[in-house]
Every structure is written in C-alpha cells, then in structure tokens.
C-alpha cells in the first residue's frame, strides 16, 4: 500500500516546545502534503512538498522530505495551545490515476499549558 504512516500516534509537549511528527510511505511519490484536523471535522491543508524538494517552510512549520528513505517530517516550532490537533500526511503516488492522494492515520498532538 502507498499509504503514509505517521509516527508517533500521539504526542504531548509543553507549550513553547517544538513538536516533530514523522511520516513514512512505501512507493515513489509526486508530492507529499500535511494537513491538520481540529475537533474531528474537516481537514485544513498546511503545506505541500514536491518530490524534488527537500525542505519547505511556512510560518512556524518546517517540512522535510527524504525520498531515499521515503519519509517526511513536520516540525512545529514554539508550539501554542491552538496547535493541539491531529496531523495527517497524504501522498500522491507516481503512477496513481490522476491526482488521487491517500492519507495516513494521523498523529494526535496535545500542547500542555
């Protein structure tokens, strides 16, 4: 299966610390995306990194991609209470029909006050 898998499944850190979540996948990809989900409803797109990119930044978010290891990491710096959410990676495998992407099971991040 191409599906990405996030690690760890759950993470609790103190407010102000950095949070790192990892994603591993099995097949070659065109791009990898990270999403956030609050309160079990719709997901919000955070960042997309293409297979020829190694690192990308967006505000307090830093994403890295290592295609040789088929892995990605999402770093949230200076975490805030509002960052408490589930974070999912999603991959668009090469050879997939059209732009179909598949989500992992997510990492539940809890920021402690």
């Amino acid at each position: 299966s191409q599906q990405g898998e996030e690690d760890p499944q759950a993470l609790s850190i103190q407010e102000g610390e950095n949070a790192t979540m990892n994603c591993s996948y099995k097949t070659s990809i065109n791009n990898l995306q990270w999403y956030r989900q609050n309160s079990g409803r719709g997901l919000v797109h955070l960042i997309l990194i293409r297979s020829n990119e190694r690192e990308k930044h967006s505000g307090r978010l830093r994403v890295t991609l290592d295609t040789s290891k088929k892995s990605s990491s999402l770093l949230i710096t200076a975490s805030r209470a509002a960052d408490t959410a589930s974070y999912f990676c999603a991959t668009d495998a090469t050879g997939n029909r059209d732009d179909k992407i598949i989500f992992g099971k997510g990492t539940r991040l809890h920021i402690l006050p």
Partner: protein
Amino acid sequence: GAGVSQSPSNKVTEKGKDVELRCDPISGHTALYWYRQSLGQGLEFLIYFQGNSAPDKSGLPSDRFSAERTGGSVSTLTIQRTQQEDSAVYLCASSLGGAQYFGPGTRLTVT
C-alpha cells in the same frame, strides 16, 4: 468564495434505512473525494471523482455504498440498508490537483 459544503451536518437514522449525504464542492474543482472517519481514527478513502473519468470506487466498503457526481459538480453518497458500523463522520473534499479543501463533514449515527 464559498468553500466545500456538506449536508446534512448531522444525521440520525435507524438501522436498515437508506441515507443520502450531499457534497457541494468548490466551483471549478475537477476532483472530488469522499472519506469516512470513525471516532479517533484516520481517514478511510471511499471514492474519487476526477473530471469526466470513471470514478475510482476502490474504497467503497460494500455494495450498499454508492456515489454519484452530477454535471461534474454536486455529489451524493448513498448508503443503503444502513448498519451500526456505518456510524462515522463522512468527509468530502474537492481539489484542482494538489491541496484538498474539505467540507465540515456529516456525522452519521445509525441506531
């Protein structure tokens, strides 16, 4: 502009009844996805529409599930003879390729 909308937001139905869930994607988005998410779990892919291509139905869990997308826009997910295990949040997303934009979901409860 308007985002993805879904209706109803909540649906309680009796076991054995049929239900229809609706998704209005962002205008102009060619791709439309349906997912299912049980409490505390990840997203389970159900079905994918892309333009005029035949839909990818590989994620539908049984033949009780079906979906249509009329005119390349609005989509309806139908669940026939609902079972208690169908209880979940059903999420719809649309895309032009790349980022997906999600609706708020429909929470389905089968009693």
